[in-house]
């Protein structure tokens, strides 16, 4: 007597259904263009440069007195720590010091070059004498004290950034 139950699918039927399904086609993945050069993104480049600067500043602790032959003292530990803290403040800015070196008076100098004749340098001693010097190749200059409060630091760094981009007028002499 024939069974009323449907014939259970054979194993090959299952395989057949599987084979009948759309073959998977390898399509090129759509990637957000902003992620294409993620390794070269501005933020990462900025962080890399900051790390390099931090390492350069740390190396200054190995320098000896009279490093320039003019009798200059080596940068103090306090000056080095302060300079590293200042460099960290640049994470949210688009400008960066191009170089960090010892200054002739025993501090750390963070050196900037602007687009045209604008130049700047931050001299850090780790004291209230720290300052930003905005100057140009024609001899005009203006000194901004480096403030202690973070908000005020942002203001002077914004001013520094504008100056180096040539947005701000030449400093008053």
């Amino acid at each position: 007597m024939p069974s009323l139950l449907a014939t259970p699918p054979a194993y090959f039927d299952t395989c057949e259904r599987t084979l009948r399904s759309e073959p998977r086609i390898e399509r090129p993945k759509e990637v957000d263009p902003t992620w294409l050069n993620v390794a070269n993104s501005r933020v990462l480049r900025q962080n890399d440069k900051i790390e390099t600067l931090q390492a350069n500043i740390l190396e200054l602790s190995l320098w000896q007195n009279n490093w320039n032959g003019y009798g200059s003292p080596r940068p103090s530990i306090v000056a080095i720590a302060a300079a590293r803290a200042i460099v960290n403040r640049f994470q949210t800015f688009t400008v960066l010091p191009e170089k960090a070196t010892a200054s002739a008076d025993g501090g750390v100098a963070l050196i900037f070059v602007g687009q045209d004749k604008q130049r700047a340098v931050i001299e850090s001693f780790g004291t209230e004498d720290d300052y930003i010097l905005l100057y140009d190749t024609e001899g005009s200059s203006r000194t901004l004290p480096w403030p202690q409060e973070e908000e005020a630091q942002n203001e002077v760094l914004t001013e520094l950034q504008s100056y180096l981009r040539g947005i701000q007028v030449a400093p008053r002499s």
């Binding site: 200054s103 100098a109 200059s141």
Partner: protein
């Protein structure tokens, strides 16, 4: 070979066309090859004039002497660049922010035993016949350094 102290006359007047030489290591220059003001020593403005930017005076030295060890405290400075300016290019006078005081600079010959040409830049109140050494504000000191660097950078490194 630099002249020794015994071979120079410290009383010889500086002429306006006399060169003043200053050396700098590559790491003291920015990417444009310019000397940065923080690489000049600050004027101490104490009674002694030693705490001031040091140069070699052209009357007794040339650019080669600037990178000689005997003029650099026995330090190897052969990798340095040499900048030069004339005495007449020293800043004429600088007025303080409050406009009350005016400073001028003048070179002072300070020979070393084995290197007779070093001089430092002193500062005095303008129109002071005694040339009394006077202490200006920090902003004036910085401005002096900027103007000296500007004069040095105008000519560029000579060596």
């Amino acid at each position: 070979m630099p002249l020794a102290a015994s071979e120079v006359d410290v009383n010889k007047q500086f002429s306006l066309t006399e060169f003043l030489y200053r050396r700098a290591f590559p790491f003291e220059l920015n990417s444009k090859g310019e000397l940065v003001p923080t690489q000049l020593e600050s004027f101490s403005f104490a009674k002694e004039v030693e705490g001031a930017p040091s140069f070699l005076r052209g009357a007794y030295a040339n650019a080669n002497d600037v990178v000689h060890q005997e003029c650099a405290g026995n330090k190897d400075v052969s990798a340095c660049s040499v900048f030069q300016m004339m005495v007449s290019e020293l800043p004429g006078s600088i007025v303080t922010g409050d406009g009350k005081r005016q400073y001028s600079l003048w070179p002072v010959h300070k020979p070393l035993i084995l290197c007779g040409a070093p001089c430092v830049i002193g500062s005095h109140l303008h129109d002071d016949p005694e040339k009394a050494y006077a202490k200006p504000s920090h902003a004036v000191v910085t401005e002096l350094k900027v103007q000296i660097c500007t004069a040095l950078n105008m000519r560029g490194a000579v060596q």
